[in-house]
């Protein structure tokens, strides 16, 4: 069970308080009707699914209820950093990249 730092509550809580919400920074287009089928499918279904640092969303569903973002290493499952929704993806120190 992971231990996740909620950036809104500013505390680390066990994974079962949270709900995973998929890849982060997959923004919905302001006007989807302008998109062709391929681009829309890309938004709906296609994901980066990296082996390594993954930007993902969590919701503190059994806490403050807020959605936030996290960078997690999908090889070790280690959570590297969490940040609030709307914030840009933080740069990691170089050693985190090389992991």
């Amino acid at each position: 069970m992971l231990l996740i730092h909620c950036p809104y509550c500013a505390m680390e809580r066990p994974e079962i308080e949270f709900r995973h919400a998929g890849e982060a920074h997959v923004a919905r287009a302001p006007d989807p009707s302008q998109l062709d089928d391929e681009t829309w499918a890309e938004f709906l279904y296609f994901r980066s699914n990296p082996k390594g640092v993954h930007a993902e969303r969590w919701r503190h569903v059994h806490g403050c209820g807020r959605f936030f973002n996290a960078l997690r290493d999908t090889v070790s499952d280690r959570l590297l950093v969490t940040y609030k929704a709307g914030e840009v993806r933080p740069e990691l120190p170089p050693q985190e990249h090389s992991r």
Binding site: E15, G22, D37, A41, R47, P50, T74, D77
Partner: protein
């Protein structure tokens, strides 16, 4: 040397000194007609059928670890074909028919054991969904029958059908031809079969890049053991599909999740069939060795770690202990994890890609083992002909653009 009782006796008398290696360990050649990436069951089956059915023997199967070491050797080996949609019925039934003759086909006893797969219904919605499956399967000529709770108990005596259960068993859908097989034997049998037909199986050879020519078409792969040229490359890498396809600049509609399983200590035979409960997440059978083989649900987050949380295991055992209260004192002997590649509609992707010469077979999620022979068979045909085999055609990447999904998961979703 053929595997047979006679040869076993002969070898027994001479100390089993003369059994040959089941497959060679060749050095990779510089070029092949086809390179298959991934020596799991699906990849090895692909190579086998390329050689056997299409006469394409100049084939290499590249494996970053040891063959059969991924999901093939980590799953709970459930085999069934009673899926809902016609497209799914076609491919899983195709596979099931191949299972029925696979041991002799490969001259390797894969221990296919059609002991029956029973899926339990715990609420009115389950009952409606499973009955729909039964009717759909009957029309397709696939055996699947509805059992009352009492009939379910007669088929599986340790099952608890008390109405006092939190989610009582309201019945079950039984596919008698469904069952289990020995997972390692499937990988080894296909490996030996492919090897005997001339296929090179190259282990400890990780693909690090996909080479493309100036027109964008595939011309080979970079590996930890050098460059290997091939005009056709088939990626059959399960949980690592996204990583490999990214080497050809392709994004995939796939996410990789940890899936855990566990076994108990071996006990004398007590569970005669496979029992599945999607509603409360319990999947159980008993191996020929006597271990209870139990599958859990996936963790909620994507991962390549091949481990998962303890709470996933405990959740599964809660369900097992309720359905089988006589198993409560038995003990978990070993727990492990695999990486499953999950698509948005829980159906696989088999076919061509936007990159000429690059083929992909992935997205089998939590249930790929059962499809192994069928998957390899239709994927081999797809690679050989350069166009999808009719059974594979509906499982194209294109469906995510048109919206023609084959959604097995949503069909079982619960509301109201």
């Amino acid at each position: 040397m053929q595997y047979s009782f006679l040869n076993l006796v002969r070898q027994g008398l001479s100390g089993h000194q003369d059994w040959p290696a089941q497959w060679r360990s060749p050095e990779p050649k510089t070029a092949y007609d086809v390179v298959v990436v991934g020596a799991g069951g699906h990849g090895l089956a692909t190579a086998y059928y390329l050689a056997k059915e299409h006469g394409i023997t100049n084939v290499a199967v590249l494996e970053k670890g040891w063959l059969g070491g991924g999901n093939t050797g980590r799953n709970t080996t459930i085999i069934r074909s009673n899926y809902l949609w016609e497209e799914s019925e076609a491919i899983y039934e195709h596979a099931l028919r191949l299972w029925e003759t696979l041991s002799r086909e490969l001259n390797y006893n894969v221990m296919y054991s059609p002991r029956g797969v029973m899926m339990l219904a715990h609420n009115v919605h389950d009952v409606q969904v499973f009955k729909r499956h039964v009717h759909a399967n009957r029309l397709a000529g696939i055996d699947n029958e509805w059992l009352s709770p009492e009939e379910a108990k007669a088929f599986c005596p340790p099952l608890n059908i008390s109405r006092q259960l939190r989610y009582p068993v309201l019945g079950g859908a039984l596919q008698r031809r469904g069952g289990v097989a020995r997972h390692d034997a499937v990988a080894w049998g296909y490996a030996r079969g492919a090897d005997r037909l001339g296929v090179d199986i190259i282990q400890n050879c990780e693909v690090t890049g996909i080479r493309r020519d100036i027109n964008g078409a595939v011309e080979g792969v970079e590996t930890t053991r050098g460059t290997i040229k091939a005009k056709k490359v088939g990626v059959v890498a399960a949980g690592h599909t996204s990583v490999l396809m990214a080497m050809a600049s392709l994004r995939m509609p796939i996410e990789s999740f940890p899936l855990q399983a566990l076994v108990s200590e071996p006990i004398k035979p007590v569970l005669p069939c496979v029992v599945m409960s999607n509603s409360i997440h319990a999947y159980i059978s008993q191996s020929d060795k006597g271990e209870l083989v139990i599958g859990a649900g996936t963790d909620v987050y994507t991962s390549y770690s091949q481990t998962g949380g303890l709470h996933i295991t405990t959740h599964t055992l809660e369900a097992i202990a309720e359905l089988f209260p006589t198993f409560r004192r038995l003990r978990m002997m070993r727990n492990w994890g695999g990486i499953v590649d999950v698509t948005p509609d829980r159906s696989p992707i088999i076919g061509t890609t936007p990159v000429p010469g690059l083929f992909v077979n992935c997205g089998w999620g939590t249930g790929g083992f059962k499809a192994t022979p069928g998957s390899g068979h239709v994927f081999a045909a797809t690679i050989a002909r350069g166009e999808p085999h009719p059974i594979a055609a509906p499982f194209s990447l294109e469906r995510f653009v048109t919206g023609r999904l084959i959604d097995e998961a949503a069909a079982a979703a619960v509301a109201h």
